[in-house]
């Protein structure tokens, strides 16, 4: 059991949890993740280790509610516990000094991106931070990313905060102005794909972090496999970071939808159980998922 030591609501459907996990806190490196199972009967889901404090033995998770398990996590109070937390998993990010790096986050992609940007900064890079979200209310960890950036831009799709438009537009401008040696982009697959398409013709190495559906996270099931350079790679042990120019994003996005109808059923069951058929956000989410 891993107790929740601290909880903060960052946005409407995004929470930050500090969770006891002393072994993991000691060892984790930027780019790594954990697999959590909230309770008995729960699903195993991967979450990035966004930060850690080895001295008190906690790790920080930033969770966006998209379904049943993330919903359950978001409802945990301080003092309650997560049944299982395993990690750190995946390969740490390869950090080197390439001169100037653009660190681009989409939505809560900022959580996995922040420790990487921080490490890149510590390695002596000039860091250009770009943080994009759909809308002002979904901008999280702006201060953190800004704190490790030499230049920093925040964008919103609807223009409600910062520069209007998508992160790719901001990034495109930056790439014209500065000589960038590497781009690191983490966010929804569609955003990472767009970034990779932008940098491909410019020949700028682009690291992305894939988020396929996982079970064990230890290379045992192959469920997390994705096509990279035409080869099947296991994201949990070979990744999660890959060369964005080699990744088949369309296949990855298709695979993410593998359980859509089941996920809707799961949410519906949870919602009906707790609140009756109507009147709660879970039920709404379920309806939305079914319609998709």
């Amino acid at each position: 059991m891993n107790a929740v030591r601290n909880r903060r609501q960052l946005a409407d459907n995004i929470v930050q949890l500090e969770v006891e996990a002393p072994r993991i806190a000691r060892r984790r490196k930027p780019g790594q993740f954990v697999i959590v199972r909230v309770r008995d009967g729960g699903e195993r889901i991967p979450l990035t280790i966004a930060d850690a404090d080895a001295s008190v033995g906690t790790i920080t998770l930033v969770v966006q509610v998209v379904g049943k398990t993330t919903g359950l996590l978001a409802e945990l109070d301080v003092g309650e516990a997560i049944a299982d937390v395993a990690g750190p998993l995946g390969r740490p990010t390869h950090i080197e000094n390439v001169g100037t790096v653009a660190a681009v986050a989409g939505g809560i992609g900022v959580a996995p991106l922040f420790p990487i940007a921080q490490a890149l900064k510590e390695a002596g890079n000039r860091v250009l931070g770009v943080l994009g979200a759909r809308s002002a209310s979904l901008v999280v960890w702006e201060d953190r990313l800004r704190s490790v950036s030499d230049r920093f831009i925040v964008t919103t799709d609807d223009g409600s905060y910062g520069r209007p438009g998508r992160v790719t537009e901001a990034l495109s401008d930056l790439l014209m102005e500065e000589k960038v040696g590497q781009v690191v982009a983490i966010g929804p697959p569609i955003m990472m794909k767009a970034v990779a398409e932008l940098t491909r013709p410019l020949g700028i190495p682009t690291l992305v972090s894939l988020n396929p559906i996982m079970v064990d996270g230890t290379g045992m099931c192959g469920g997390c496999r994705g096509l990279v350079g035409g080869q099947n790679r296991f994201v949990c042990v070979d990744g999660p970071e890959f060369d964005g120019h080699q990744v088949d994003f369309d296949n990855m996005m298709a695979r993410l939808s593998a359980y859509r109808e089941y996920e809707a059923v799961s949410l519906q069951a949870a919602a009906a159980h707790r609140f009756g058929e109507e009147g709660c956000r879970l039920a709404e989410e379920a309806r939305r998922a079914r319609e998709q």
Partner: protein, 491 residues
């Protein structure tokens, strides 16, 4: 009773006086099974086990051969005639104690050992009657006493040995790790088992389905070890959460045993394996067993349910996947195997059960591609017909493709069960641990010693995908060597 007209009670009264001829005349006792129609849609166990009467009659069949040929066939050397004799005498407590001298998971091995290739293969009775089916049902008797034991109050805990002050870390809680842990704790060492998953038992909990091995049995055996003083830590991925070097140097362990198994799934390497609806057997079985997806949405882990399922492979894993698919509601389950039936590596009983439940076998066929629809989901498995050619290195005739014989097998779910390699997570972070070209840890076969001082290994991670009983044997062998190492410090 066709061959021996004596009534069972009569037979039992004279159990001790039966002549070998009379023993041989007793027919093999049937083990009741749930009918295929009833069981093919649920997770409850298929064979129901002997009752006392049938067990004792079956025990009467054993000739108590002086040379004990059956024992030669048992990888851990269970004293078979001795325990069977105790069953015959009605001393079930004595019988289970006898088995436990060599075998710490009797309720498991009695169910899943390939007995027809091991102990029962060598049985004199089978040879005398020129019919392997007529061997004494050693496995079923083993299961009987193990289940009898489980049904009772657990006997007072064994007396604790005096502590040696030495600490051993066991990595992996499969049969190899559990048996090493059991032996070492009885020798007085302090034992901690580290497991990557949230549940203990290795393949016994994530791979072998409930209907073949109720998980309760595994939990029970783990509980027994806890009572003996073994510590269990879940969610520790050795190599990631903590390295082997750290266990030895920082966490104060005097020796490490690696029983990390063969959990790395092999894929076919054909086009289309990335489609939705293609699973490795590991993933399919892990979702179904470890995560209990058959109870979805009562539990949270989903599993793709499909009407037509193709399973590629011919071993135990393929049979388990195929039978699981039936239980998850599939209408048609086809097992695609590239050789003929005689070469199938699965246990005879599992092939038989699968067939009874309606799994269809497509033999001498090999997948060449997986075809998808416009949404990226599987719609068919493209196969080619095979012929058996010259024998290969393994002595089995090598299948060769018949040119131009491609055909499509419609399926919405494809499960690949063509084998597993050793899981590299623990070894890849320990450079001084020698592995062979197939990723197996290289050990001294007599002791399980690896190339790294203080580190031992055994089970599937050394043998490649093998069997439960072999893994247990390896765990016990390593435990003896670890004990010696801890006592002498000699490597």
């Amino acid at each position: 009773m066709p061959e021996n007209s004596e009534r069972p009670e009569e037979l039992l009264r004279r159990a001790d006086e039966l002549t070998p001829k009379e023993r041989m005349a007793i027919p093999r006792q049937p083990m009741p099974e749930r009918p295929a129609e009833e069981r093919r849609r649920d997770q409850s166990e298929v064979p129901l086990g002997f009752d006392e009467l049938h067990a004792v009659i079956e025990a009467c069949r054993c000739l108590e051969c002086k040379s004990k040929p059956c024992v030669q066939g048992c990888p851990v050397g269970v004293d078979i005639p001795a325990f069977i004799r105790l069953i015959r005498q009605g001393d079930f407590e004595g019988a289970i104690a006898k088995i436990r001298e060599c075998n710490c998971l009797p309720a498991v091995t009695g169910r899943v050992c390939p007995q027809e290739e091991q102990c029962q293969l060598h049985c004199t009775l089978a040879k005398a009657r020129k019919d392997p089916e007529q061997a004494v049902s050693i496995g079923r008797l083993e299961r009987f006493v193990a289940d009898w034991e489980r049904g009772r109050e657990r006997p007072t805990p064994e007396t604790k040995p005096s502590p040696t002050g030495k600490r051993v870390a066991i990595v992996g809680s499969g049969p190899a790790g559990l048996s090493a842990a059991g032996d070492l704790v009885r020798m007085g060492h302090e034992v901690t088992v580290f497991e990557a998953f949230h549940k203990f038992g290795g393949v016994l909990v994530y791979g072998i389905p409930e209907f073949r091995l109720p998980k309760e049995i595994v939990d029970d055996e783990v509980g027994r070890l806890v009572e003996l003083g073994v510590r269990f830590e879940a969610n520790v991925v050795v190599g990631q959460t903590v390295t082997i070097d750290e266990l030895l140097e920082e966490e104060g362990f005097d020796a490490v045993f690696l029983g990390t198994g063969a959990g790395l799934p092999l894929f076919l390497g054909v086009p289309g394996e990335e489609l939705i609806g293609v699973y490795s057997a590991n993933e399919y079985l892990t979702r179904a067993n470890l995560m209990r997806a058959y109870e979805f949405p009562k539990v949270d882990t989903p599993i793709v349910r499909a009407g037509r399922v193709a399973v590629v492979g011919g071993g135990n894993v393929a049979m388990d996947a195929a039978r699981t698919a039936l239980r998850l509601g599939a209408q048609e389950v086809t097992l695609v195997y590239r050789r003929s039936r005689t070469e199938m590596p699965a246990r005879a009983e599992e092939i038989h059960h699968a067939e009874e439940e309606g799994v269809q076998f497509l033999l001498l066929a090999n997948p060449v591609a997986i075809l998808g629809d416009e949404t990226g989901r599987v719609r068919a498995l493209r196969c080619v017909r095979m012929e058996l050619g010259e024998p290969d290195a393994s002595g089995r005739r090598r299948p060769v493709a018949v040119p131009g014989s491609e055909f499509d097998l419609p399926a919405e779910l494809v499960i690949v069960a063509i084998g597993n390699g050793p899981n590299p997570l623990a070894t890849s972070t320990t450079p001084d641990l020698k592995t062979d070209s197939r990723g197996r840890i290289v050990v001294d076969p007599a002791t399980g010693k690896t190339s790294k001082r203080g580190v031992f290994a055994g089970g599937d991670v050394v043998l490649g995908a093998a069997t439960v009983i072999l893994a247990m044997g390896e765990g016990r062998k390593a435990a003896r060597a670890i004990d010696r190492f801890l006592a002498t410090g000699e490597w």
